[in-house]
Amino acid sequence: MSVGTLDRAASLNHWRHRALGEKALIGLGFLVLALVLPPWPGAALVAVAVLAFTFLGARVPLRLWLATVVLPLGFLASGGLMLLVQITGDGVSLAPGGAEKAAFLCLRAMAATFCLMFLALTTPMADLFAGLRRLAVPAEIVELALLTYRFVFLIADEAAAMTAAQRARLGHSSRRRWLRSTAMVAANLLPRALARARRMETGLAARGWQGEMRVLSSRVPVCRKTVALVLAVQLAVLLAVVLA
């Protein structure tokens, strides 16, 4: 998976043009529920609900979703393992109640990860920046994040091309060569990134840049029906947990 995979998926997503508020309510709302509610049955219900929004609502391709979820699950496997065992004076043994604890942790972490992936796969970064601006994050910091985002793709392309060129000349073929080749990429990449920054400065000055970076962002009105639906599902999850 490359840097652009999720970004591309988000900007081509079925729900790309839905209001940021709706998607934030789903992604962040369920994320909070996953953390606040007891993992069973809370996190399990959250996971089911958010997956329904992901696949039935936003129609995220399953293959892409699976390829994305592999990485956090790797972390979960090793981290969860640690809860199964305990260290005593005699060495390592199975922890009492460890299985249950590990299962609960896995449930919660997975539900939360599904929420994050919902956001990542449906919400283009442009909308998030606009949202951050509305949340009164200092303009300078949003601008810094925006420019960083823009540069990430340019620099990642350069890094990928450099690495391909080195592989073509047999760099990276042993541990020592890997170190030398990667260091050469990094050492050549930083000056290029800074040169790019200087050119960008000239390019933006030509467009009348005075130090503030204002742009018109389009804002989609929130659909009340959707919000009501999401809130209803969230309330249902909450009630189910309280009653259970």
Binding site: A126, A205, R214, L216
Partner: protein
Amino acid sequence: MTAILSATDLHYAYPGEVPALRQLSLGVPTGRKLAILGPNGAGKSTLLLHLNGSLRPDRGAVLLAGKPGDYSRRGLLQWRSRVALVLQDPDDQIFAATVAEDVSFGPLNQGLTDTAARARVQAALAALGIADLADRPPHMLSGGQKKRVAIAGAVAMEPEVLLLDEPTAGLDREGADQLIAVLRQLGQRGMTLVFSTHDIDLALALADDVALFQDGTVLAQGRAETLLCDPALLASAGLRPPVLVELWLAAQARGLCPASGQMPRTPEALMEQLAPAPPALRVAQ
């Protein structure tokens, strides 16, 4: 023919390097399309950066509508509202997360209201034929599309002069042809265009006037029809005439084209001039 922009006796050296511009004088005729033609590394980009006030000459002056360029903060803002610059690499000029957001940057910097800026954005995207890309993130565009986004960002400021550095660099034939068509349209609407290029075929396809550039100075400036048909002059700038013109001159010399014809700017124009010989006179098969 009035000059909306002109440079007299410009001299400029980047700190610690050999001079990039030397005693350069140039006039930009109002409402026409001027090609600054010369090899890479000759200082063409440096000249463009002088024409919008991004660089300040060590000696000499840039005149905007006859008045010396004003390098104060306010002066520069006005200057750049009237003279827009599009860099060679569109990635050096596109920063926002979507195309429409990016194009709105210039108009908002000019102090327009949101409504007025939005109208400018729509007009500019329409003029460049990219209205359908408005919501796309820039890194998902092709090279030709990015180029047009960068130009839309300049056009949205409604400048009098548009400076373009190597506008067709990196584009394939189709992308270049589309861009040339768009630039011609902008010219027809009265915008003055100045573009730098090392590609004499681009000058042939687009320019009304040509300035021959070499080693930081302008060797000659004149109408494209005159300059591009002058092999001796072009050779002094290390250039050859466009292939079309070479063949046209050769055909004229052989009597296969009328000597009074106009310089052909497309293969079709040359073919029209190549009159078919009557069957009896054809060369032996």
